[in-house]
Amino acid sequence: MGAGARTLAHRSPIVSIRKVALAMAGALLLAALLFPICWMLAASLMPESRLFESRPLLPTAVTFEHYRALFDERDFLVPIRNSLLVSGLTTLVAVPVAALCAYALARLRMRGKGLVLACVLAISMFPQISIVPPLYLILRELRLLNTYPGLVLPYLTFSMPLGVWLLTGFFRQLPKDLEEAAMLDGATRMRALRDVVLPLAAPGIASTAILTFLYCWNEFLFALSFTLGPDRYTVPVAITLFRGRYQVPWGQVLAATVVATIPVALLVLACQRRIVAGLTVGATKG
């Protein structure tokens, strides 16, 4: 007893040192994660000339010039509208279709289930670049280049497998006996799906929708390849194609990145639990 108390008493200062060290390391990591974003925000508010000074650390003057130019001269609302439409449309199409498929894969008896999942997985492993040329030619034939459907269709190549993958995981997590109880109560599979399964799967469906939207919003290669003009550029493409007359207009570029980040940040702030739930269900399925 006495020896234990003595070691405990000796332990306390060492334990707190360790805790402080851990906390500091953690704080450093967090700072490293957040600093670039804070810097991005700060730099976007600095006048152009200040950016080229050798130690532009603290903003002396705050200016909204870049933001004004962004919307007045570069009409940045157009890419934002395009991104919102394309991401939203893709999510609206992909998630319900994937949900039905995922429910069947998670719950119903069918042969070839493993094959379907394996196919979905294998197809999603294809490098995006490899399907750009054929898709380009197909879209051109269908006169869908530089249109909204012309982006939604290619976006389905990754959003469908993603949705099926995530939602199968979510459906599997639901307890089976609830559907069985509903069936004994007289509900058909469809009815049980509507009355019992979907309400309970709503958080998982929300997670999937949010992740799908995020992936679409961030997508670059397809948007670069299948849009032809500024009227259909999405946000990532528009920002990348900013050109100044003599040099990269960093001020406006940064303002654009801030604007591009705001919806994402809002989504993360509002739905961080849902996002984490989505990421981990996809991962622990392994």
Binding site: L51, A98, S130, I131, M160, L269, G286
Partner: protein, 303 residues
Amino acid sequence: MNHRTASIERAETRFAWLLVAPALAVILLVSLVPIAVTGWDALHVHDLRLPWLGRPFIGVGNFVEAVNDPRFRAALLHTGAFALISVPLELVLGLGLAVMLHSATRGRAFVRVSALLPWAIPTVVAALLWRFMFDAQTGILAASFRTLGVVGPAFDWFVHPLAAWLPIIAADVWKTTPFVAILLLAGLQTIDPVLGEAAQIDGAGPVRRFFTITLPMLTPALVVAAAFRMLDALRLFDLVYVVTGGGPGSATEPVSLYAFITLMQRLRFGYGAALSMTVFLLTFAFALVWVRVLGRSLTGARS
């Protein structure tokens, strides 16, 4: 007897296929057809700038050219080296962040949001950000390195073939460490705290507990995280396109970018298709190997 019950099962199977059909149809149409076309193209000559050549079948001719193409070999080297450097970095840092998130009692939401933001930001935005920070004239990190004397006063990160990799790797690690952290955090949360307590009673200190209990039990999550990251690293494109454009020259060019240039700028669809197929085959092979490793590690962890 059996045929009666078989009809219930058949009805269920029919219903199942009904639900699966729309998703499968979309995936097949939108993905499988282009993939098949690419596979077809890889076996032919298809050069949009030389239409008079037609589209003759050349079997593995494109693949042979790829194997002998020094630029392709360099691209493979770049991609492989990038993956081997950034993925372990992300795993280690992600583990640290995960441990921190796991033991944080207050401010968990704040930490989670801070961790998620870099991951949620569009890749091109992150790329532009890091491009900006390393820019010779305006970059704060470039300026800091100059002040610290690590590099000379006229040093331009993007002109030096090896140095240009640093912004790329930094951007990738910055962006995906949170993703890895969240995967590992989920794994940490499934470890029964009773095990740690038992070890504590047995006299094991925190470091020993971490290495003998936490890490082994975390192996499945680590393997999954490593697999996801490896697959993504092999498909590196957005970051390099924006940060360096593959330059200087083609010093930082990964395979996806070379395939992109071949396809969309040189318009050599046949050869480009072969390049993409090669990338896919390598990715697929890697995934197969990994699944085997994953299977063994999972059964090992259970015992």
